[in-house]
Amino acid sequence: MAKTVNIPPVRNFIQPVPGDDWASIAARELPGTPAEEAVGMLQSWNLYVAFRPGGGAVTPSDVIFVEPPRAA
């Protein structure tokens, strides 16, 4: 029987659903934040995606952080 455990993440993240882009992730994960600001926040927390070659497109296997880095 597989174990089910809930280990809190080091930093909260999601993985995209099919069709996701920055705007849809921002709307879902940061609903109280104005759209443009939310996208900017998400991209700043995920520079590895935002600045990747090819224009920063999100792929379905990506890890997308939904909070800033935590203090060490």
């Binding site: 597989a2 455990v5 930093r11 993240f13 590895y48 090819g54 296997s61 952080f65």
Partner: protein, 561 residues
């Protein structure tokens, strides 16, 4: 009954990690039949007094997939004591693959694993489509054992065609991928490889990266049916990202009762706390029942580059990358064009390697000069540029132009070079040794000799591992994780994959360029030092005095039941 081989008077490190002991090893029919005080006689007897006998080393992270088609010994892996290799890592195997996708996959494989196109094309005779056909194509000529992975990108291409590069899979396609994976596992694959980072020859994500989590989950369910392993490349340069990936692997491991391994775990001054943070996360996941094993390589990162072909060194320098893709004539013209040179200079001024390597092109040195630059051999580019009063980019370009671009440059100790720190990590029971990339990056750096380097640097040098521990990490530990049956121990009933080496001399030799590719060109390799004899399935595969045998005793190794 007489034995085929008795190795007498050896110090036996049996792979278990326990104390070594002195004795004999008897072999018959490719198997170890006696260990200890072995009586009787044998067709061949070797006196190994003063030497260690250990199980053959297992290299879990290689890309010999193509080389095995023209070189069944995977040279020079064997002479470094490696008797079993795992090709097919990082989502890229060479099967299953339909004929119409050969050029596409070939271009991707050559880009990511840095294999010259002329060698790849000359050496590969594509006679297969299915994984089983690939296995049969290489089986008869193997001088080394092979435990192949099947690549997730290949499974996607097989089922989805070119759409594998464009979109997520439908539920029906995922079911078809599950069946395709079953067929590969039945045909000899020991697991599935994936990647969360690699980009293809058109700078697009490899197909495996377009899988949504439920696809990977479904494939891991199949791995669970077979007790097979998942290998994957995570974002190894960022601690938060790596911990997230460790958690994802932990969940997959627990849910499907599978072993998972990622490569590499890489130390860098750009992120000096990363390995410790990752190890803490792995310990936590292990405590909760997951099997997530990182692979750490033993050697530091050294690179070579030239201007004849695209190389990872230029991956984040778009104009340099584009220039290396030009024809020779176009390249010469561009490198002489003042406007183009200005772009190249500008990019080098703003260079940033995103994966934790710390590259300063001023520290590059002239490694293989052409005849017109022979006096510059070994000189630092920054010093040459200063003496010439030019930009470092211009120094690199002009030295190369003087010899029709044949000059090769070197960059050393770019990362993973804090050996005192790395020695402690290598000794950690939860960290595996691997990520060596044997068979790949052939003109960029030598991926061979990591086994000897482990002994010279960390057993004899820093003394962070005993000989027994080092042998264990290269043998039984790997066989256990990867489910490789009956290998990795010197024990009656086990396959007679054996290495006889001098523990005071085993090492990697200096990096040298050799021209043994199946087409004009060269690759960097290292010769072994201190390895006396290597046996594969009871037959001599290599000896220090006689070199490589013509005996092809290698096998496709079965998984544990």
């Amino acid at each position: 009954m007489s034995l085929d081989l008795i190795i007498r008077n050896a110090r036996i490190c049996d792979g278990s990690g326990g104390p070594s002991f002195h004795g004999d090893v008897g072999v018959r029919g490719g198997r170890i039949v006696a260990v200890g005080d072995v009586g009787g006689d044998a067709v061949e007897t070797i006196d190994a007094r003063g030497l260690v006998v250990s199980p053959g080393f297992i290299d879990p992270h290689t890309h010999y997939d193509a080389q095995l088609v023209w070189d069944g010994f995977a040279q020079p892996a064997l002479e470094h004591g490696v008797t079993t290799i795992v090709p097919g890592n990082c989502s890229l195997s060479l099967a299953p693959l339909r004929a119409e996708h050969r050029e596409l996959l070939g271009a991707t494989f050559r880009k990511i694993e840095e294999m010259p196109k002329n060698a790849f094309d000359a050496g590969l005779t594509w006679s297969w489509e299915t994984f089983g056909e690939y296995v049969e194509a290489i089986r008869g000529q193997l001088g080394i054992n092979v435990a192949p992975l099947v690549g997730h990108s290949l499974i996607r291409l097989w089922v989805m065609g070119e759409a594998a590069r464009e979109r997520v899979a439908t539920d029906g396609e995922i079911a078809d991928m599950q069946q395709a994976l079953r067929e590969c596992l039945e045909a000899g694959a020991v697991g599935l490889s994936g990647s969360w980072v690699d980009i293809d020859h058109e700078n697009r994500p490899v197909p495996a990266r377009l899988a949504e989590p439920k696809e990977l989950d479904a494939l891991c369910a199949v791995l669970g049916e077979y007790g097979a392993i998942l290998q994957i490349v995570p974002e190894f340069w960022d601690a938060d990202l790596l911990c997230a990936r460790i958690d994802i692997l932990g969940d997959l491991s627990r849910k499907h009762n599978i072993s998972t391994t990622f490569s590499p775990l890489f130390d860098s001054n750009a992120s000096p706390e990363l390995c410790g943070i990752a190890l803490d996360r792995i310990k936590l996941q292990t405590a909760y029942g997951a099997r997530v094993v990182p692979q750490m390589q033993t050697r530091p990162i050294d690179l070579s580059f030239d201007l004849t072909a695209p190389m990872s060194t230029f991956a984040t320098l778009p104009t340099w990358w584009a220039t290396t893709l030009m024809t020779h004539e176009e390249k010469i013209a561009a490198l002489r064009d003042p406007a183009h040179r200005e772009k190249l200079k500008g990019e080098m001024d703003n260079f940033m390697m995103p994966i934790g390597l710390q590259i300063d092109f001023a520290d590059a040195f002239v490694k293989r000069p052409g005849p017109n630059s022979a006096d510059l051999a070994g000189q630092r580019i920054g010093d040459i540029a200063k003496a010439r009063g030019c930009h470092i980019a211009e120094a690199i370009i002009d030295i190369a132009l003087a010899d029709d671009l044949q000059t090769s440059y070197g960059l050393e100790a770019l990362g993973h070079n804090n050996t005192a720190k790395i020695g402690d990590f290598l000794a950690e029971p939860l960290i595996g040794i691997g990520a060596g990339d044997g068979g790949a990056h052939v003109t960029n750096f030598s991926t061979y000799g990591d086994t000897g380097f482990l002994f010279s640097q960390y057993v004899r040098g820093h003394k962070t591992l005993s000989v027994e521990q080092a042998v264990h990490k290269l043998t039984h530990e790997v066989a256990s994780l990867w489910g490789i049956r009956d290998r990795g121990l010197v024990k009656p009933g086990y396959a007679a994959d054996l290495v006889i080496f001098d523990p005071e001399a085993i090492d990697r030799g200096p990096e040298i360029a050799v021209d043994d590719l199946p087409a004009p060109g060269f690759r960097y390799i290292r010769r072994a030092e201190g390895i006396e004899q290597v046996f594969v399935n009871g037959r001599r595969a290599y000896s220090r005095d006689g070199g490589y045998s013509s005996d092809r005793a290698g096998a496709i190794v079965p998984m544990a039941a």
